[in-house]
Symmetry: C2
Subunit: 199 residues, 2 copies
């Protein structure tokens, strides 16, 4: 299950950013996402990620440098936020629903949902959540006009996470999996748009 939920559009999804790609890179990134999502940061080791990815620890060091650098590569919601928020406010609700469905299809996984998996972990370090707040919620709050922008941004983030969660939960035979994206948007976008408008 996590193999389809874990992956997400990191910066590497941006055209041109795959320059460093090559043998093992994708496997390392996938293993690192799994590790940082499912285990406390302190317990994650490059050795464990290497074993999961089927590569040598030295290859990870060569490609990514330190554990912190690898974390920073995989814990990035920036590209997803770029895509999700790329519409003027009056059209943002519908755009976010359609983009969420498209990103999930394109990358075979949800672009945001792993931050929720991380809530299940006993972890003093909340790096993944801090990154999400900064790259998704804070950015959105800054783009919203009207009262309670921060609260509305949190609730919009919630509805986006909830959309991905329910589509993943009800696979493969759920109604959401078979619905046309336009129909999903008809039903789900109005609530999002209302939060965007703040009225």
């Amino acid at each position: 299950m996590s193999t389809t939920d874990g992956p997400a559009p990191a910066r590497a999804a941006t055209p041109g950013a795959e320059a460093g790609s090559g043998t093992g890179r994708d496997a390392i990134v996938r293993a690192a996402r799994r590790a940082f999502t499912l285990r406390p940061y302190a317990e994650v080791t490059l050795r464990g990620i290497a074993a999961d990815a089927g590569v040598s620890p030295s290859l990870i060091v060569k490609r990514f440098g330190s554990k912190e650098a690898l974390f920073n590569t995989v814990a990035d919601f920036g590209a997803a936020a770029d895509a999700l928020f790329a519409a003027p406010p009056p059209e943002l609700g519908r755009h976010m629903v359609l983009t969420m469905v498209e990103l999930r299809d394109r990358f075979g996984g949800d672009p945001l949902l792993r931050v929720v998996f991380s809530l299940g972990i006993e972890d003093e370090r909340t790096l993944l959540r801090a990154r999400f707040r900064e790259q998704v919620t804070d950015r959105l709050a800054g783009a919203l006009a009207g009262p309670d922008a921060r609260l509305r941004a949190e609730l919009i983030a919630g509805q986006l996470l909830g959309l991905g969660a329910t589509l993943s939960l009800h696979r493969p035979d759920g109604a959401g999996a078979h619905a046309r994206p336009e129909r999903l948007a008809d039903l789900y976008a109005p609530g999002l748009q209302r939060l965007v408008d703040g009225t």
Copy 2:
């Protein structure tokens, strides 16, 4: 973090259902929730749960019987669904938001969110998700009138999961944590109500 997210109102929350309560029971239930949420079912052992709970494995067997029986005790969304859906359709959106906030406060954790944590696990067994679909989504779909009831039920479940996710993610200093429940409902309930109405 998970200590405040993991717990949820199981049947034990129902008055009278605590009859079997006693030393160690709560610790066992908490440890079991953690284990079944964070690890594949096949990897969960009563011995591991006992160690986490600080009790003997034989006490778990005495109190709960088998691993399967223990799973069935902790993987129960029925009491949460009872509370969340206890309003007539025209008032259901607002009722669900206020009830979600109340349940989270009362039990020190989210009543539904652990089903999302389970998506992060590689697991052939999807018992927790099957239970959620049956106790939350199917039940809700059966209570909705109008077209696309199943799809709308999935999206309502998504918005409920998303509300819990965003409140947990943005703790302790998030705007949602400081907002009055009534204000949360003003903002979040209209989208839910629209999905209930199906218009």
